[in-house]
């Protein structure tokens, strides 16, 4: 039996297909073009998927945002997994390029310790928190989940990702620590 797809799932497929093929031209945007200001993305991320969600779900909002990021990370990971042929260096390099192309941020591996299963990846110029300051704790839960999802896909195991430095806290980068569990 064919499973019914929700309208969000239909839209998701269209968006992801276009992102993964690098096709950014958008129909019906003849005058405005395919790009939007980062602040608009940040409204969606920090307001719609941030404070508004927090108003409804309290502490549960953080888990939802993390999970959403993890799902995206897994999609990106699966998209490059085949070309990487289980080579971690190639895999990370492909992900770096994809994140740069999508302007998510500049993903830079800081620590890769396969023995202890510990990874640290920097996200320079992070799209979520660029130009934001004065917060009391890291706010890029989406990116933490995304990096976790990328690592999870490669190793096919559960991971715990945590943002340990955040640009919005005054750090010079966002640093995501990932542990295989």
């Amino acid at each position: 039996m064919r499973q019914h797809k929700s309208d969000y799932q239909i839209a998701q497929k269209k968006i992801l297909d276009s992102v993964l093929t690098g096709e950014f031209d958008i129909e019906n945007r003849k005058n405005l073009g395919p790009l939007v200001p980062i602040r608009l993305f940040q409204i969606l991320r920090m307001v719609a998927l941030g404070s508004n969600l927090e108003d409804m779900l309290g502490d549960g909002s953080q888990a939802l945002v993390y999970h959403s990021g993890q799902s995206l990370g897994q999609i990106l990971g699966q998209a490059v997994m085949e070309q990487a042929d289980k080579n971690l260096e190639v895999y990370v390099s492909q992900i770096e390029q994809l994140c740069k192309k999508l302007s998510i941020g500049l993903l830079i591996p800081e620590t890769i310790d396969l023995k202890s299963g510990l990874f640290e990846l920097r996200v320079d110029e992070c799209v979520s928190c660029a130009g934001i300051d004065g917060v009391s704790s890291p706010i890029c839960h989406f990116e933490a989940g995304m990096v976790g999802g990328i690592i999870k896909t490669f190793f096919d195991t559960n991971v715990k990702a945590k943002e340990t430095k955040c640009n919005a806290l005054g750090d010079d980068t966002c640093l995501i620590q990932v542990k295989l569990v």
């Binding site: 108003d55 409804m56 779900l57 309290g58 502490d59 549960g60 909002s61 953080q62 888990a63 939802l64 993390y66 999970h67 993890q70 839960h141 933490a144 989940g145 559960n158 715990k160 990702a161 945590k162 569990v181």
Partner: protein, 133 residues
């Protein structure tokens, strides 16, 4: 030497947490017992059927978060237990500490009062264990 102690102590905590979950699983009708961290990651689980742990973990946090918010909207203080009554059984959620949650899944054979009582009994022990975790 101090590192060795720390590892031993953590291993002991993991064993103790597992023992608490096993005891809860011994209750009539309980089919899964899981501990979920703040980000929705299932850190410990005992179950006798296949579960998508990623989806379960995030759902636990979302449902408990929404229930806690609903409680504040009606001027109630902290939510202690959230119970979902389904066609096929119950899902019970209870906070342990710092966003860490205990979740129990039952079939329709479970005695809700008994499960609820044992859930409440388990929370202080788990809290002690997570303080040293």
């Amino acid at each position: 030497m101090s590192n060795v102690t720390a590892i031993d102590s953590r291993k002991k905590s993991v064993d103790e947490i597992d023992r608490v979950l096993r005891n809860l699983m011994n209750l009539q009708g309980v089919t899964a017992a899981a501990i979920v961290d703040r980000d929705g990651l299932v850190t410990h689980i005992r179950r006798n059927f296949e579960i998508n742990t990623d989806a379960l973990g995030v759902s636990v946090q979302i449902v408990f978060g929404a229930a806690s918010k609903a409680a504040t909207h009606v001027n109630h203080r902290a939510a202690d237990i959230v119970i979902c009554e389904n066609d096929d059984g119950y899902v019970l959620l209870a906070p342990i500490m710092s966003g860490i949650m205990l979740s129990l899944v039952t079939d329709d054979d479970a005695l809700l009062g008994r499960v609820r009582f044992e859930l409440k009994e388990a929370i202080p022990s788990l809290k002690r264990l997570f303080l040293n975790y």
